[in-house]
Each structure stands twice: as structure tokens, then as C-alpha cells.
């Protein structure tokens, strides 16, 4: 174990996988000479050379297509989106080619590609650069979608994503790159896709949250513990496939659930998880599943408005009190 940042954990994962498998290569804007807009690819050009660390023009659709083609003939590309908002330019490549070629070729081709980069709200990145991009992808059959919240998961899940034979959308966060944590230095350490983690054990309510929202939920849980409300926090880690089993097991124990998501709530991850809970654990529920989501509005640039748009610790705590019927009467 070593303590390192989320950014360093991603870098280590790339480095280890590139050493292990000569078919792995990195492609994207500024990944080589500039060592990545967020320095995730720092030092990789020096170690692996320009054939495996490929700088591209500003052309997301083009270099994503190059990656998909390379994957079809047996390479394992890791495509970096400078921010995941730019993946919108490559949406046709991702949705219509990467996700579907295995199916449409009758299994003759598979596309072992990882498309990674930061996404979701950060600090004053405004409307076009703050979007929770996962919603565009987890709806598409054929794509796996990962959102790793901790340095340990960043490393273990990125390695699993690279080794996976299917296209994986791997969305990091600008706000987490400097988060430090313990990370396994074992080159064979993996976190399997499709497994949620219980971040905190509790008995009164289950909060399902990932990335920055998971950390805010943790703060809310600390605060509510003083009022005697015991919060369990489940981090799904992978959104597609979603580990409903862990979520349901937790809700069966606590009888209440709050889902937090940074993006707008309509038809979001919260709706999906709330539905799964209602279908699987209806008779165990003591309150309707509550959602805490971003407002249905573009992200404002102003800091004060950004705060209004996004789920905060206070909003999360309010929702928890609400499902625990603890509004003042406790």
C-alpha cells in the first residue's frame, strides 16, 4: 500500500497495464508532450514513446474512431477525453460503433476500448463543462460505465476496464484528482466491474452516492450521527452493470433510501435506482425513496448559483431526515 492521489493512481494503472500488455496504448489531445491536461499521463511518453502515447488534433470523433478501429483489430486503446463533455462530439462513434459492433458482427469483432476523462460538476466550469456525462452512456446497451470515487478504485477499476473485452466509459472528476488515499501497489490488484462498495455502515437509512456526492453524503452522515441517525453509504462504483444486489441488501436492512446524483434528476441514475428498490424491496420500505439531484437547469457559472444547482451536504441531510421521519420530531 502507498498513499497517493487519485491522479497518480490512474497514472500508475496506465503504466502497469502498458508494461504488462504491449497492445495497450493511449491516444488523445495533449496526452504526450503536454502530459495530459490534468497530468494523468505524466511521464508516459518518456517511458513508452510516441507510438504508444499518441497526440492527436482537436478531433474527438476522429481519434475515437481510430481507437475503435484499433480495438477491432486487437489493440487495447485508452482514449482520453480532455473533459468528458467533449465526448459529445464522438457520440456517434461510441454509441453506434463501439457499443454495437460486437452485436452487429455476430461476435466476430469485439471492441476492447476504454474512453476516459473527467466529467461532472467541478468548480465554476459553467454550463458546457460541468455535465454529468454518464447519463448519456449507461442507457446504451453494450457500454459499461464506471465512476470511481477513491484513488484505490481509480486504479483497480481502470485496470479492470483496460482488461475488459468490451467498451468501457470511465469518467473521472476534476474535483477528485488531488484526493489522496491508500492505493495497492500490486500490479495484479483489480477492482471488478459491477461491484458496489459499502463506504460506511449504518442501520437507519441507505444513501447511494458516487464521486463528489459520495463525499458530501459522508459529511452529512457524520453530522446526522450526532442526532442519532445511523447512515449507511453505498457507492455503486460501476453504473452499468449496476450492483443492485448490494443496494437492495442494504435497503432491506435500513428500510429507507436516499439516492444522490450531481446531474439533473429527470430520468437520471436516481430514478433508476429508486425504481430498482421499489421493485425489489417494496415491502421493506418504511418511506418512499428520496432523490437529491441537481436542478433541471444548465450549470450557472456564478459560485452562488452553482451551489443552488448542485446537491449540497445540507440538502442530503434534509432528505435523510425526511425519510427517517426525523423532521424536528426526533
Amino acid at each position: 500500500m502507498a498513499v497517493m492521489t487519485y491522479r497518480e493512481a490512474l497514472n500508475l494503472a496506465l503504466r502497469e497495464e502498458m508494461r504488462r500488455d504491449p497492445d495497450v496504448f493511449v491516444i488523445g489531445e495533449e496526452v504526450g508532450l503536454y502530459e495530459g491536461a490534468y497530468k494523468v499521463t505524466q511521464g508516459l511518453l518518456k517511458e513508452f514513446g510516441p507510438k504508444r502515447i499518441v497526440d492527436t488534433p482537436i478531433a474527438e470523433s476522429g481519434f475515437t474512431g481510430v481507437g475503435i478501429g484499433a480495438a477491432m483489430v486487437g489493440l487495447r486503446p485508452v482514449v482520453e477525453m480532455m473533459t468528458f463533455n467533449f465526448a459529445l462530439l464522438a457520440l456517434d462513434q461510441i454509441v453506434n460503433s463501439a457499443a454495437k459492433l460486437n452485436y452487429m458482427s455476430g461476435g466476430q469483432y469485439n471492441v476492447p476500448i476504454v474512453i476516459r476523462g473527467p466529467g461532472g460538476p467541478a468548480h465554476q466550469l459553467a454550463a458546457q463543462h460541468s455535465q454529468s456525462m454518464e447519463v448519456y452512456f449507461y442507457h446504451v446497451p453494450g457500454l459499461k460505465v464506471v465512476r470511481p470515487s477513491t484513488p484505490m478504485d481509480a486504479k483497480g477499476l481502470l485496470k479492470s476496464a483496460i482488461r475488459d473485452d468490451n467498451p468501457v466509459i470511465f469518467i473521472e472528476s476534476e474535483t477528485l484528482y488531488n484526493v489522496k488515499g491508500e492505493v495497492s501497489e500490486d500490479p495484479d490488484f483489480l477492482v471488478p466491474l459491477g461491484q458496489a462498495a459499502v463506504r460506511r455502515e449504518g442501520t437507519d437509512v441507505t444513501v447511494i452516492a458516487y464521486m463528489g456526492m459520495m463525499y458530501r453524503a459522508m459529511e452529512a452522515a457524520e453530522e446526522l450521527a450526532k442526532d442519532g441517525i445511523s447512515v449507511e453509504i453505498v457507492d455503486p462504483r460501476t453504473l452499468q452493470p449496476l450492483d443492485t444486489e448490494t443496494i437492495i441488501r442494504s435497503v432491506r436492512k435500513t428500510h429507507r433510501a436516499v439516492v444522490v446524483e450531481a446531474g439533473a434528476g429527470f430520468a437520471g441514475m436516481g430514478s433508476e435506482i429508486a425504481t430498482e428498490i421499489t421493485e425489489e424491496a417494496f415491502d421493506d420500505l418504511d418511506a418512499p425513496v428520496a432523490r437529491v439531484t441537481g436542478a433541471q437547469a444548465p450549470m450557472p457559472y456564478a459560485r452562488s448559483l452553482e451551489r443552488l444547482k448542485t446537491p449540497t451536504k445540507e440538502k442530503i441531510a434534509d432528505a435523510i431526515r425526511q425519510v427517517c421521519y426525523a423532521n424536528g420530531s426526533r
Binding site: 442519532g228 428500510h255 415491502d283 421493506d284 418504511d286 418511506a287 421521519y325 420530531s329 426526533r330
Partner: protein, 464 residues
């Protein structure tokens, strides 16, 4: 693709069982949702019972002329190829066949449809003339059948408590969990005051009602009139404080009255000469590489072995039968800061002293850290509560239902004893067994205790 369970509907508030006057459909008939399946006689009226699922009436479990309790499975609608064995077996797996036609009204066991023996095919329902059957159409009927999406196994479906009678029209608002608990504990939701938004009944309301049924019936009686409030003399500090119940304390508060009130306890006390057991224990604990054996470990093993010879004590009252266990799962009461918890040492009769010592310590340890798995907290067939470490001479314990008995163990004390030579010093330990009188009688408890005493006084037998 769905299996619809046809259950005896609750057609009036007082109804706890109903009689099938006649089946309109017979086994093998194709039915559509809305078809009349059968006519049911209640205490008030004869009512037609509709089908709420489509398919084939695959099985009739209660024949015409027979009674079934509310909520009991009386038929199954499914497609031709569906496997309905699990559903049917569920209905037949309860108590031995209580004659469903007995006149005395049985208490409705909402969580466990009472066993109705599967009837041989009987299409002979012509003998009863169809009665005019014109009771008012109760909205309650619609809830009596539950359609389950086809799964490999049809999981438990607690029948929903009924909507209130048409008279007051309104639906009782309760969370699904509150409904489930109410059905299991026999709480009538109509009498419960809901503390949730819009008067929704939530879990804590039902639990409170289950713990204090009288209070639930008259919720306003408790508030003292201001005029009656006594004038308190001036004292420093508040007169009292209300400490919130921890989850565990609340569970204990809820469960214990469930034992003490309905379970008729009796107690038998005996004293054991522990001199030889004490020596044996010291000798065992002197051995290198052996786990340390506590007095309680000796008691656990002794009871486990003795229970095998006294199955009547290793038993549980089941309403219409007594369930006698052939294995001993020992509940061990562990005191915690905020209460007590009873982890279960499974198959204690088949374990050596060393195994018992290791497992019991592990369970107690994890109980203190609150790390027990749920399956380690249920399924005991007998329990032991030992307060020996508190220098307690003897005490009696409350049975942990549905178990039939619990042994309360006091300290091993050095006391003067009369020997052949005169007066000596011996080690003695008192044990009191609390027994459920519905399951066993005094002599049975006494004989069990006598054998426990014998075994503890010849402790070498514990090693073989």
C-alpha cells in the same frame, strides 16, 4: 406468465375465516380476470369471489363446504406449464392438518396462512345449491389475490391488511414495511395513529402499537389534564430526562412483553456441586495450546448434550403444534453496554468443548463489536443466560420466543457444605430454568435440570 395465488379474502372486519359454498370454476378451467371463481360464506353474507389473474385454475386447495382462515391459500391460477409446486407446498408446509371446517373461529394468522391440506380433486360441488349470494361487493375482495411475476420460486407474500370497511371509505395510509410488520404482529392498522407525513403509519407507529396494544386503542387517554399536574418541590436540575431508546433497547422493549405476557412462564431452580467441573476446567486450561474453557462453555456443552435426551425441552410452541428440534442451536445471551443480544451457536450438541469455547468467544466478541451477521441472531432452540460474572446467586430469565425454555446461570460460589466428615467447603452454582408451560410441565423441566446437574457433577462425561 404469472402465478396468481387465490387466498381467502377478508370480507368484513370481524371475519377471520370463510367457508367455500361452491366453486364456480373447477380445476383445469381457463379463467379470465374478473370471472367469478367461487362463492364464499362469511359471518355476514355470501359473496362471489372474482379472479384477479388470468390463466388456468390449476389447483383448488379448499373444497366446497370447507372453511379456511383469511389469507390462507385456497387455489392457484397459473399457466399450463408453470411450476406451482412451490406455491402449493408453501400452503401445505405449516402445522399439521387442522381440520379447516371446525366451527370455532381460529385466530387469523396473517403471516402464515394456516395449513389447509391439499384436497383430492373434488368436482362434486353440485350438492349445495348456489345461494343467492348477494352480499354487498366489498372493495376488499380485490386485494385478496396477489399476482406474482413468475420467478423460479414464488417468494413470501404477506397478505396485505385490509382496506377499511366501505363505511368510512378512506384507505389506511401506511408504509409497506409498516403493513408487513402489522400483518406479522397482528396489529390492526385502523387503530394505529400515523406519525408520518399526512398521517402515514410508519414502522415506529406499528412497533409502538404492538408493544402497547391498550395504549393504541385509546391514544388520548394518556395525556394528563393540566389541573392534575402535581406541583413539584424546587429541586436543582431537571426532575427527569427522557433518554431516547437505542435501536437495541427498543427491540428488547418490544420483544420481552411478547414473551412474558403471552407465554406462561414457570421456573425450576437447582444447585450443582461444581467442584469437579472446576477442577476439570483448571486442568484443561493448564494444557498448552488449548483454548481457555469458561464455566459457561461447560454449561453450554452440558445443556446441548442433555437436550438431546430431553427433546421436549428443546421445543417451541407453534400455535397448533409443538415443534420439537432434533438439533441444538444454543442462544447465548451477551450483555452489551446498551442492552443484550443473543447470538446463536449452531449445532452445539455436535461440538467439542474446545470448539464451543472458540465459537462462543468469537460470537461474544463480535456481538460487542456489533459485527454479527443476521443469521447468527436467529434460530436458537434453547438459550443460556449467565450472570455469574456479576456475583449473582441466582435469577430467572425471560424466555426468548419462540424458544421453549431458557437457563439462567448464577455464580460459582464457595459455600460451606455438609460432607460425611462434617463441614467442608464446596463450590456451588445455582441454575434456574424458565419454561413455557404451553410446551412442557414442571416435571419435564425438573428432570432436564436434574440431568444437567448430574452431567456437570460428572464432568468427565463432557469429554467423551
Amino acid at each position: 406468465m404469472a402465478i396468481t395465488k387465490v387466498v381467502m379474502p377478508k370480507l368484513s372486519e370481524q371475519m377471520d375465516s370463510g367457508k367455500i359454498i361452491k366453486w364456480i370454476k373447477k380445476e383445469g378451467d381457463r379463467v379470465q380476470s374478473g370471472d367469478i371463481l367461487a362463492e364464499v360464506e362469511t359471518d355476514k353474507a355470501d359473496v362471489e369471489m372474482e379472479a384477479f389473474g388470468s390463466g388456468v385454475l390449476r389447483k383448488i386447495l379448499v373444497s366446497a363446504g370447507d372453511k379456511a382462515p383469511v389469507g390462507a391459500l385456497i387455489g392457484v391460477i397459473a399457466e399450463e406449464g408453470d411450476d406451482i409446486n412451490a406455491v402449493v407446498a408453501q400452503a401445505g408446509g405449516g402445522a399439521p392438518s387442522a381440520a379447516a371446517s371446525s366451527a370455532g373461529a381460529k385466530p387469523a394468522m396473517a403471516d402464515r396462512p394456516a395449513a389447509v391440506p391439499p384436497q383430492p380433486k373434488s368436482e362434486d360441488h353440485a350438492e349445495r345449491t348456489p345461494s343467492p349470494s348477494k352480499g354487498p361487493e366489498s372493495p376488499g375482495i380485490r386485494r385478496a389475490q396477489e399476482t406474482v411475476a413468475q420467478q423460479p420460486v414464488v417468494t413470501e407474500m404477506a397478505p396485505r391488511p385490509q382496506a377499511p370497511a366501505a363505511a368510512d371509505g378512506g384507505r389506511v395510509k401506511a408504509s409497506p414495511l409498516a403493513r408487513k410488520i402489522a400483518a406479522q404482529s397482528g396489529v390492526d392498522l385502523k387503530l394505529v395513529h400515523g406519525s408520518g407525513p399526512g398521517g402515514r403509519i410508519v414502522r415506529r407507529d406499528v412497533e409502538a402499537a404492538a408493544a402497547a396494544p391498550a395504549a393504541a386503542a385509546a391514544p388520548s387517554a394518556a395525556a394528563p389534564s393540566p389541573a392534575l399536574r402535581p406541583v413539584t418541590p424546587t429541586v436543582t436540575g431537571p426532575e427527569y430526562e427522557d433518554v431516547a431508546l437505542s435501536t437495541m433497547r427498543a427491540a428488547i422493549a418490544k420483544r420481552m412483553p411478547l414473551s412474558k405476557a403471552p407465554v406462561p412462564h414457570f421456573y425450576v431452580t437447582s444447585e450443582v456441586a461444581m467442584d469437579r467441573a472446576w477442577e476439570l476446567r483448571e486442568e484443561l486450561n493448564g494444557l498448552e495450546g488449548q483454548p481457555k474453557i469458561s464455566v459457561n462453555d461447560l454449561v453450554i456443552r452440558t445443556c446441548a448434550l442433555t437436550l438431546l435426551h430431553h427433546p421436549g425441552v428443546n421445543a417451541s410452541f407453534q400455535g397448533e403444534s409443538i415443534r420439537v428440534f432434533h438439533r441444538v442451536h444454543m442462544g447465548i445471551a451477551v450483555a452489551l453496554e446498551e442492552g443484550l443480544i443473543t447470538p446463536v451457536l449452531r449445532d452445539a450438541h455436535a461440538k467439542t468443548l474446545a470448539q464451543i469455547a472458540v465459537e462462543a468467544r468469537d460470537l461474544a466478541e463480535r456481538a460487542r463489536q456489533r459485527k454479527l451477521r443476521t443469521q447468527e441472531l436467529s434460530g436458537a432452540t434453547f438459550s443460556i443466560s449467565n450472570l455469574g460474572m456479576f456475583d449473582v446467586r441466582d435469577f430467572s430469565a425471560i424466555i426468548n420466543p419462540p424458544e421453549g425454555a431458557i437457563l439462567a446461570v448464577g455464580s460459582v460460589r464457595k459455600v460451606p457444605v455438609v460432607t460425611d466428615e462434617g463441614l467442608g467447603v464446596g463450590r456451588r452454582m445455582a441454575m434456574t430454568i424458565s419454561c413455557d408451560h404451553r410446551v412442557m410441565d414442571g416435571a419435564m423441566g425438573a428432570r432436564f435440570l436434574q440431568d444437567v446437574k448430574r452431567l456437570l457433577e460428572e464432568p468427565l462425561r463432557l469429554l467423551v
